[in-house]
């Protein structure tokens, strides 16, 4: 902006001399720089902490109440505020409808074995304490940053929160988001763009039963932040030899382009820069196993973005050949999950409770 003001100023001054001066603007970064605009439901989350001049006993009492009520919620607890049960949506599933997703935490990885003896690597995702907070119908949903979703004007938006937290730590405005939902304020919020048929009433709990074993899911997460890195770590360049007369260029990129007609750095050239801390979606991961007690699901592979304990978002897959063929729990799973405590295993998976694998002679 400063630059444009100066340009105008220069232009004014020089126009008196009746000579045309062209100032080149080589970078246009100031024109298309992405501006971070917060989503419409965004409000400041945490309160400023003042010294309350409380006595030590009072402080301890408040902390106790806080931890008792809002301790680490591994399992969905009964909400403190009792609301009437959210009404079940009676819509019928068709293949083109978009369902809501869930917020999960990546809690680790470990191997499982198939019935043919093959070992597979799986990632465990825990869907901790998810509730629907709000549904915004298509006509009211006008996002500041338009997401890349087809037919956005026909789609509504569901706000989902996860992990109940101590409201004493939150601002009044942020806690106000949860006012009409009937659930306590949550640590994490996310929006999912859904078809109007898949809308959910505020207060509906979302559990791991939202997905079934054998389904395919897309998992979106933020990759591990590595900071500013060179080309060897960031792009896997080979570097240069350690000796044989090489000086000061052991881990550098070397040449970045030719001369002549193409005498410039081509867009997309691999160079040093910030590595990680980006949103990435890993698509088409099979759900191998589900534990309803801890709301954990085992998905294929060990490439889910983010560190252990990081937040991820799980969607139905958009890959055409792995999309749901039969109706999933639509719009979500209502009713009590089965309580016998055993996990649900995909049919190809070897259950550790069954006997060792043996092969038959042909």
């Amino acid at each position: 902006m400063m630059r444009s003001v100066i340009n105008q100023f220069l232009g004014l001054r020089l126009s008196g001399n009746c000579s045309v001066l062209v100032t080149q603007v080589r970078d246009k970064g100031h024109l298309s720089r992405p501006r971070l605009r917060n989503p419409q439901w965004f409000l400041r989350k945490e309160i400023t902490k003042y010294n309350d001049l409380m006595t030590a006993e009072n402080k301890q009492f408040v902390n106790e109440v806080g931890t008792n009520n809002f301790g680490v919620p591994a399992v969905i607890k009964d909400s403190l505020v009792k609301t009437e049960a959210p009404t079940a949506n009676e819509a019928v599933w068709t293949p083109n409808l978009r369902r809501c997703g869930v917020i999960a935490r990546k809690i680790g990885q470990y191997p499982l074995w198939l019935k043919n003896g093959e070992r597979i690597r799986t990632t465990l995702l825990q869907i901790a304490d998810n509730h629907v907070i709000k549904y915004i119908p298509p006509e009211e949903y006008l996002p500041a940053q338009v997401p890349k979703v087809a037919n956005l004007h026909k789609r509504g938006c569901i706000l989902v929160g996860s992990e109940t937290t101590n409201p004493a730590l939150l601002t009044k405005e942020y806690a106000g988001i949860f006012r009409n939902s009937g659930v306590l304020p949550k640590k994490n919020l996310a929006r999912f763009i859904v078809s109007p048929e898949a809308q959910l009433a505020p207060g509906t709990p979302l559990t791991v039963n939202h997905f079934r074993i054998g389904d395919f899911v897309d998992v979106r997460g933020k990759t591990v932040d590595h900071g500013f890195q060179g080309v060897v770590k960031r792009h896997g360049f080979k570097g240069m030899p350690a000796s044989h007369g090489v000086t000061k260029t052991h881990r550098r990129a070397g040449n970045i382009g030719g001369g002549g007609e193409k005498g410039r750095v081509w867009p997309g050239t691999k160079m040093p820069g910030h590595m990680g801390n980006r949103w990435r979606i890993i698509k088409g991961l099979r759900v191998w196993r589900i534990n309803t007690k801890y709301n954990v699901m085992w998905v294929q592979g060990s490439s889910v973005a983010g560190p252990t304990g990081g937040l991820v978002y799980i969607y139905d897959t958009i890959l055409p050949f792995r999309k749901n063929k039969e109706a999933p729990p639509f719009p979500t799973f209502y009713g009590e999950p089965q309580q016998d405590g055993d996990d649900l295993w995909y049919e190809q998976l070897h259950n550790f409770k069954s006997e060792s694998i043996t092969y038959e002679n042909e």
Partner: protein
């Protein structure tokens, strides 16, 4: 220094030493033993330390018998829910198959189902030269020399294709891993395939075999002189001054005082008790079951001759 302060200091050092636990070592740390010896020497006639009233429910050797139940100490990979689920799966597998107590240096026979073999099972006998990884990933390496051909097989402990693990000889060696057997003379890693299982008295401590192996001349696969091996007899024969110098350069004698490093590479004792308290009852039941089975096996009904 008067006597009481000395006693107190001793007790303090002992306590500190006890807290420092290495996850994967199978032996009690040396400094602990040394401390105990010193204490015995220095203060015999003074008031004895008060006996511990509460008998610990969990046997102290569990962290050596079941090292894979302790999670990886890397903080970035820890998660309590995942560890719990993993332990439940491990227990489920242990109910299906008897995974016995064994150490690096024990001789094992592993029977596993193999789709490529003629009888669809294969059996491999060998000495365990390494144990690593935690949880369901736990694995071990067996080494043997068959027909003058040295070979090694990696087995995963919780692999469901494993049908049976027999311990033919239960013992420990002087080192935590025996990769140097690859460079030793072949007779040190040769074991008969039809070896009979050697039985050990119940309740007897696991014997430590202090055999010293003889290495082949150089070239070696690793620089063994840098690893402070105790189970090697003739390493000095093959060392020149340059090897000794370079090995002295990379030694880190201060690391045994590095409490932070210790802390990072091990699970604290309190957490270990917590973990083993969770799985103790089931493991104990499995142990009893194993003992019963063993007794059954030892009694063989005499055949009636016509």
């Amino acid at each position: 220094m008067n006597l009481s302060t000395r006693v107190m200091l001793n007790r303090l050092t002992q306590q500190c030493a006890y807290k420092r636990i290495v996850t994967f070592s199978t032996k009690t740390a040396e400094h602990v033993i040394e401390n105990q010896k010193e204490q015995k020497k220095e203060a015999p006639p003074t008031t004895p330390t008060p006996p511990v009233n509460r008998k610990p429910i969990i046997p102290a050797n569990y962290r050596f018998v079941y090292p894979e139940f302790l999670p990886d100490p890397n903080v970035e990979w820890r998660n309590l829910v995942r560890e719990k689920l993993e332990r439940l799966d491990m227990l489920d597998r242990r109910k299906q198959i008897d995974l016995p107590e064994f150490y690096v240096g024990s001789v094992l026979a592993v029977t596993s189902s193999d789709p490529h073999a003629a009888g669809k099972t294969s059996r491999f006998v060998g000495i365990c030269i390494n144990r690593d990884r935690c949880g369901l990933r736990a694995r071990f390496i067996l080494r043997n020399v068959i027909d003058h051909q040295g070979m090694e097989v990696v087995y995963e402990l919780y692999d469901p294709t494993i049908l049976k693990i027999e311990v033919l000889r239960l013992e420990k060696r002087l080192d935590d891993s025996l990769f140097y057997l690859r460079d030793a003379l072949p007779e040190y890693s040769t074991f008969d395939e039809n070896m009979e299982a050697e039985s050990l008295e119940e309740g007897a401590p696991v014997p430590v075999n202090d055999i010293k192996v003889v290495l082949r001349p150089r070239p070696w696969l690793e620089r063994w002189e840098r690893q402070n091996l105790r189970g090697v007899a003739n390493i000095d024969e093959y060392l020149k001054d340059k090897h000794r110098l370079s090995s002295a350069k990379v030694q880190k004698p201060w690391e045994k005082y590095d409490m932070m490093k210790d802390y990072r590479s091990s699970i604290p004792e309190e957490e270990q008790t917590e973990i083993f308290a969770e799985v103790h009852t089931e493991l104990h039941a499995l142990e009893l079951q194993r003992k019963r089975n063993k007794r059954k096996r030892t009694f063989i009904k005499p055949k009636q001759l016509a």
